[in-house]
């Protein structure tokens, strides 16, 4: 078998050295009634590369890929153009097949990359320190809530109605098990965020308030006053960014006073991949909070010859040392995705990131204006970056399915996101990135017109 280098002659020679008769003899500790002496029945035997590729290709062709349709889905995962170099660089064996950099002398590639990544994320978010990544935005969000609980020693959590419902659901699940009380209401279909109401609701028992920026309906809110209200009450403000490209056009949450900024980095370098692996971003505005952060941290130091180098540091927060007192149970990060993010962001640079954001917003404005002209269709938002909510007559979820059958991927219906709510009828969240063309916008408009008349 092509992945197994040992020959039968090797195996014999090794068994001689060991002093055993057979490989089966090495499994003597397994009770005989539970030891399988033959390959499991009913499963296929080994296959050639060609056969496996054929099988997987057949499965892949049963799916409608984003490139093959006018494509407008967002709601927490965004399709952007990834420069060709990124995918080549992350497949270099020394990145792809390397490990967590526990032996720093032979892992400076990974460590320097992580230091650069941490700095890029911190700057993007307007924060002092970012970690070396978490699994994804939703787990980064609940880790931020857990951290706020440790820092404030309070257990009351307020979630904005604009937080992605999957993130809400995840936070509620975790709260059920750690005793936090979570206050949340689904969004009403207004153009305003609920930041003002949240500011009024913060009190001396609030541990943290969690907002999303831009929010799941695409609305953009100013969190400065809310940050002040939190700080006066001794609470922390957690800001969630699911579309980091937005920060190429918008003020950072850190600038507005958010204490912990988390997000989903998938939009930059990582790709859609049907939901994962994605890239959790986690940063703190104030360095005094660093020791309460979860996840790995990479820091600068020097080696025995005085050369600059990098190491994982502040490890005593983590599970492999602190065990049951760790700040999190997390072990694996999203290293390869962090690399892809960092390479893409390096290729973009300041100028490219601003231009990318401007182009996204321009196309989104174009699309909003064009779609608002479709009879019966309204745009909910006064403010948006590259994603907005359309209000349509009839069942929007069925509409999205019907359009998909016609080869148009129109967006994410609110009925899909809020199955318990009474939002089924109206809304579709539409994302417009630089990968969308004016022809695509026209195709969506035409498809909507056709479906709604």
């Amino acid at each position: 078998m092509r992945y197994l280098p040992l020959t039968d002659a090797d195996r014999s020679a090794m068994l001689d050295v060991i002093g055993a008769d057979s490989i089966d003899a090495l499994f003597a500790d397994v009770p005989r009634e539970h030891y399988l002496t033959e390959p499991l029945e009913g499963l296929p035997m080994h296959a050639s590369e060609m056969a496996v590729e054929r099988h997987m290709r057949r499965l892949s062709k049963m799916n409608l890929a984003a490139a093959d349709a006018p494509f407008f889905l967002g709601a927490g995962a965004y399709r952007h153009h990834i420069p060709a170099s990124v995918d080549h660089l992350i497949q270099r064996g020394e990145f792809l097949t390397s490990y967590t950099p526990y032996q720093p002398e032979i892992a400076q590639g990974t460590l320097q990359m992580l230091f650069e990544f941490q700095t890029q994320v911190a700057r993007l978010f307007g924060c002092a320190v970012a970690n070396a990544s978490m699994y994804d935005g939703s787990t980064a969000c609940w880790e931020a809530i857990a951290m706020a609980g440790r820092v404030t020693k309070r257990s009351k959590v307020l979630l904005s109605n604009g937080l992605h419902p999957h993130y809400v659901s995840t936070a509620k699940t975790m709260a059920r098990f750690n005793g936090d009380t979570v206050a949340y209401a689904e969004p009403t279909l207004t153009a305003e965020t609920d930041f003002a109401e949240l500011a009024g609701a913060v009190d001396g028992e609030t541990g943290c308030v969690v907002v999303q920026y831009p929010d799941v309906l695409g609305r953009i809110g100013d969190m400065s006053a809310l940050a002040d209200a939190c700080h006066v009450a001794g609470a922390l403000l957690v800001a969630v960014v699911t579309e980091p490209v937005a920060l190429g056009a918008l003020k950072s949450p850190g600038e507005m006073g958010a204490d912990i900024v988390v997000g989903e980095g998938q939009a930059i370098g990582v790709g859609l991949q049907f939901g994962g692996p994605y890239l959790g971003l986690f940063a703190v505005r104030d360095p005094k909070h660093v020791r309460q952060m979860p996840g790995r941290l990479c820091g600068e130091t020097v080696d025995a010859e005085g050369k600059r180098g990098f190491v994982l540091t502040l490890s005593t927060r983590e599970q492999h040392i602190r065990r049951e007192k760790a700040t999190s149970n997390i072990c694996t990060n999203s290293g390869l995705c962090a690399l892809a993010f960092s390479i893409h962001l390096t290729l973009l640079g300041e100028k490219g990131m601003r231009a990318l954001a401007a182009e996204n917003h321009r196309l989104a404005c174009l699309a909003a204006d064009r779609l608002a002209k479709v009879p019966g269709v309204e745009v909910l938002n006064d403010s948006f970056f590259n994603e907005f909510t359309l209000l349509v007559p009839g069942d929007a979820r069925q509409l999205v399915r019907d359009l998909a059958d016609k080869g148009v991927l129109a967006g994410v219906s609110l009925g899909r996101l809020y199955p318990d709510g009474d939002r089924r009828e109206n809304g579709i969240v539409v994302a417009v990135t630089e990968t969308v063309t004016e022809e695509d916008i026209e195709a969506l408009a035409a498809a909507l017109e056709g479906a709604l008349t």
Binding site: Y3, L43, A66, F95, T301, V311, T332, S334, G335
Partner: protein, 525 residues
């Protein structure tokens, strides 16, 4: 104070170099070993490696940004494409990797990462799909998830599988939360989880995160769980008053030994009304030969990035599906894939009320690490049932070969209790005064190898845990043995030049004390 530094691991400020480092160069480069500055030192705010269509006049677009347009620069350096490629290529060359040589980390299963996996994961019909597309447009993707799930169930002999956990530790949390939900559902919420001292740190961290108090299960002298002590703890105060929710076992355990009494352990735990969580990190030792379901396990996470070859990528991403017993299946998280006559469905919150009323809820956005599912499925289909059985065979063969080839030089605390499984454990017993496991590990670097896992498990002082995997040729194993025997002899003889190691790597030993006392976690220039 509590047990000061059980493992004995004390990195600090390294010793000063004892002699000149070879020839001096003007650039600091040394042949093919190239120094590389930070992007912040070489990049510019006006440089970009991406082209856009010429900028259009700014319309009234900014009116829709709620007055929150960015006024300050972000502070991101840009590089042209050639500079970017060179930067990351140079960085990559400072990394050891599986592609370079044996990566003998115990408990990590650093096996070859097949490139077919990469090809398959990148097929546009997998890579370019949005997780929230209508079901009718992603039947092949849902089918792939289902196919992988069936393999995992067959290989483990379990009832159901939760595919959404993002990594092993996340899977542990999933399993423990299923257990907690199950106990709460029968009105018997309990407060304690038992964990062996040899367990991976994620086990107690997970238990604590899920709201449990953690207590140790002692090991018997043969390195395995002390069943009598376990029975006594479960029965303390009467079985009917047992406050233990679960026991977390790794099998084979972190000392590389098969828990012979696994069935008895499960029976004992179940008799006390508690449940068995199995840490599946070491599944590579038994895949295709042993099914944890046959031993009464209730939940086990599988690390796709260990047993099933998905790449480690410098620290992640992973994927940690959790196989569940029939008792725990109803509590599995949302969402999940379900096969129907018409095709495949993704059961999310809405349908979950009907389809999975006792699910403990959602634990992550979307539904799992699809990019790892396609890779793992390609690997499993390539090996097939016969190949997977050979995987565990060769993995265990290689570890025993290392054990017997080294045990006259390095102390193997459990070498006398019988064969090891897929990893061999050594201690620093016999090293001369002043020589530590750390020194042996760093000396291996000069010999061209990544060191083995060190200072884990905690139950052995100066532990060295070596897992070769089935992907090492005999020649590769022999070269590793040669180097480690030599270094072992030097350690026993008290060769203080070991403190200078590594001398030939891109960096000498790094000052970890400084990094912790004065953390610099972002570029400040």
């Amino acid at each position: 104070m509590s047990a000061p530094n059980v493992s004995g691991w004390k990195p600090g400020t390294p010793e000063a170099p004892s002699g000149p480092a070879g020839i001096e160069t003007v650039t600091g480069n040394r042949g093919l070993m190239l120094e590389e500055p930070l992007i912040f030192e070489i990049g510019g705010s006006e440089t970009t490696g991406v082209d856009f269509a010429s900028p259009l006049p700014a319309g009234d677009g900014s009116a829709r940004l709620a007055g929150l347009e960015r006024s300050e620069p972000i502070g991101l350096p840009g590089l042209s494409e050639p500079e970017t490629v060179r930067h990351y290529t140079r960085l990559s060359r400072q990394n050891y990797a599986i592609d370079c040589g044996i990566f003998p980390l115990g408990s990590c299963t650093m096996k070859h990462n097949p490139r077919l996996n990469e090809k398959v994961a990148r097929m546009p019909g997998f890579a370019d799909l949005h997780p929230l597309q209508p079901e009718s447009t992603v039947q092949g993707a849902l089918g792939a998830i289902d196919e992988l799930a069936r393999w995992l169930l067959a290989l483990t002999g379990m009832h159901s599988v939760a595919m959404s956990p993002k990594a092993g530790a996340h899977g542990e949390l999933c399993g423990i939360l299923c257990i907690r939900a199950a106990l709460e559902a029968r009105g018997d919420a309990r407060s304690v989880i038992l964990v062996p001292e040899s367990a991976h740190g994620t086990n107690p961290a997970t238990a604590a995160f899920a709201g449990y108090a953690v207590e140790n299960i002692p090991a018997a002298p043969d390195g395995r769980v002390d069943l009598a002590a376990l029975k006594a703890r479960l029965g303390a105060g009467g079985l009917e008053n047992c406050n233990v929710a679960a026991v977390m076992i790794t099998n084979p355990n972190t000392c590389g030994l098969f828990e012979r009494q696994m069935k008895a352990i499960s029976d004992t735990v179940h008799a006390a009304g508690a449940l068995v969580y199995c840490d599946g990190a070491n599944f590579n030792a038994i895949v295709g030969r042993v099914r944890p379901g046959d031993f009464g396990v209730d939940a086990m996470h599988i690390n796709l990035h260990k047993t099933f070859s998905t790449p480690h990528g410098g620290g992640g991403p992973g994927s940690g599906p959790v196989v569940l017993s029939e008792a725990l299946a109803p509590f599995a998280p949302l969402p999940f894939v379900r096969k129907t006559d018409g095709g495949f469905e993704l059961i999310e919150e809405e349908d979950g009320v009907a389809a999975a009323p006792r699910s403990f809820g959602r634990m992550t956005a979307f539904h799992g690490q699809m990019g790892m599912f396609t890779r793992a499925l390609a690997y499993i289909l390539s090996h097939g049932a016969d190949g997977l059985r050979q995987v565990s065979g060769d993995a265990v063969l290689g570890a025993n070969y290392l054990l017997r080839s080294l045990e006259d030089v390095l102390d193997a605390p459990f070498g006398g209790t019988g064969p090891c499984m897929h990893e061999a454990l050594f201690s620093d017993d016999g090293f001369a005064e002043g020589i530590a496991t750390l020194d042996v590990a760093k000396a291996l670097i000069d010999e061209g190898f990544h060191p083995m896992t060190m200072y884990f498990p905690l139950v052995v002082h100066g532990a060295m845990l070596i897992e070769p995997t089935e992907c090492e040729s005999k020649a590769s194993l022999d070269q590793f043995i040669l180097a480690l025997r030599s270094i072992g002899e030097r350690a026993k003889a008290g060769d203080s030049s070991l403190h200078q190691a590594p001398q030939l790597a891109p960096r000498r030993r790094l000052d970890e004390t400084l990094a912790a006392r004065k953390p610099v976690l972002a570029y400040e220039g």
